[in-house]
Amino acid sequence: MLSLSLKYRKKTWISRRLKEKLIHGFFFFNGIISVIILLGIFALLIFTAIPAFREVNLKEFLFGIQWNPTAYVKNSYGILPMLVSTFMVTLGALFIAIPLGVGTAAYLSDVASPRVREITKPIIEILAGIPSVVIGFLGIVLVGPIIAKIFGTHNGLNALNGSILLAVMALPTIISISEDTLTNIPDSYNQASLALGATKWQTIIKVKIPAGLSGIIAACMLGMGRAIGETMTVLMATGCAPAMPESFLGPVRTLTSSIAIELGEVAYNTTHYYALFALGLVLFIITFLVNLTSDIILHKYEKVNR
């Protein structure tokens, strides 16, 4: 009797262990596959970008001011105009989005009634889900004509238009994360400040925003990461002239637009083809650095608040 029950036990023990192992394997596989895919993309970018530098030297690539890979006489692969365009559009977007976003976050966290906050915050977060092509469309039919009218330009498809649209796209991220940061600031700071005779406004400016600064900076960096990588909107709204940008009212072409425009028509395994992958690599490095920085800042902030 006893031996029977032991035998039985042993059997279930083995099957249980097997099951455990299978489940473990399943989750390990799931985890590892996404890492492998990501590494694969990265490897593809690097190995397809490297051949470009057999013909183009790195200095010329980074600092050349002419991008003309299909010229009659001599092809040129300078990405500086695109880098400048990308940063112009992105910084322009941040210039609009940061004051607006942080202001909205402060309003939602400190001034708005709970009811207003309950309604407004989800709506702002839904804004993040609007497809970029729709925003680009608005850029063409709405923002463009308005800019053209105000500044008297030929058409409104320029860096400013791109900045405005990217600001709209970065706003949900900036507002949402900044608002979380401000809401999580201990109420004791708020109370102490009010008890000293500070107004609500002074409390927000002098205590809450400085206390949540790292969170707010991280929010802005994440918003920036989104703006840099955005393709469709800028492709539609910025005019896409591959020359050195002259001003915010001139047409610009960002890194992302160039890839999107040219990759569909380029001949395989040519220097031009490899150069486009090199563009992608540059873009990847930039967004990686931005995200890494925001991650470090956010982490530091979490530690301080603990």
Binding site: P186, S193, L196, A198
Partner: protein, 278 residues
């Protein structure tokens, strides 16, 4: 002072301080005058028909079991309860004869005049100097020399100067718990209030830090009117001139501290003080 007797407070008795000697404030004026005061959080009533008055340059201790409305009462004097949604009040609180619920009254001025120190020390995430200077800065003072002078004076008044004078630029979080609490007192003193509200200021401190804070309160009494909420009855007995005993939102007894602790007139007070409940 005919109003006094109406509230059943025996002002004709000369107040005694904790050493048993005559208190030196027998001629002082009424600083805070509270009459038929009711306070509600939504539907629940937290304070029921409170009437009492507080004399200038005295320390009034408020004792009572948890949830009896002590802190709520204290937070009425600088209207900190206004930050909570859904509170209501009836009745009057007069400071120097002015009703603090007057619509004309500027709440910012009120809070400058009535300083507050919280239960848990809550310095700002700024330097020691900036913590003390904050109240002055929000009042629009920019003069560097005056700020430096005022910060030094406030820290000295809070008996913290000697411990921090070499590291004013350091973060306030570098200080110990007791030092942080004295920093909060210095911060409150910097704006020169006339009344100081202390909400269990020593509840999170060790005995040595507590002794320092108590000594400080005794010193501050000369310049300020102090209302202190405390959980610790020995502390109330040691530092306050008058003691108010609250229970379930009602003021059970208010009298000279020595009398409350030796021969209270109400049975409930005696039971609480002798530790039969609470």
């Amino acid at each position: 002072m005919s109003v006094l007797t109406k509230h059943g407070i025996k002002m004709e008795q000369k107040p005694l301080n904790h050493t048993g000697k005559m208190a030196d404030n027998k001629n002082s004026n009424i600083k805070i005058f509270i009459k038929n005061f009711n306070f509600y959080y939504g539907a629940s009533q937290a304070l029921k028909n409170i009437s009492l008055d507080i004399r200038e340059n005295t320390v009034v201790g408020i004792i009572g079991p948890s949830g009896c409305g002590k802190s709520t009462f204290l937070r009425c004097f600088n209207r900190m309860n206004d930050t909570i949604v859904g509170v209501r009040y009836q009745g009057d609180i007069l400071i120097d004869g002015n009703n603090i619920f007057d619509k004309e009254l500027d709440i910012v001025d009120l809070r400058r005049n009535v300083g507050m120190v919280f239960q848990k020390s809550n310095p700002f995430p700024k330097s020691i100097f900036e913590n003390v200077a904050y109240g002055l800065r929000v009042n629009g003072i920019k003069d560097k020399e005056y700020l430096t002078h005022k910060v030094e004076k406030s820290l000295k008044d809070a008996a913290l100067w000697d411990e921090v004078k070499d590291r004013l630029a350091n973060s306030a979080f570098d200080l110990s718990g007791g030092q942080q609490q004295r920093l909060c007192i210095a911060r409150a003193l910097a704006v020169e209030p006339e009344i100081l509200l202390l909400d269990e200021p020593a509840s999170a401190l060790d005995p040595i830090a507590t002794a320092k804070v108590e000594e400080l309160i005794h010193e501050l009494k000369k310049k300020y009117t102090i209302v202190i909420v405390t959980h610790n009855m020995q502390q109330a007995a040691r530092i306050s001139d008058y003691t108010a005993f609250f229970m379930m939102g009602e003021l059970i007894e208010y009298d000279i501290t020595s009398k409350i602790f030796t021969k209270p007139s109400k049975k409930t007070t005696e039971d609480y003080i002798t530790g039969r409940f609470g």
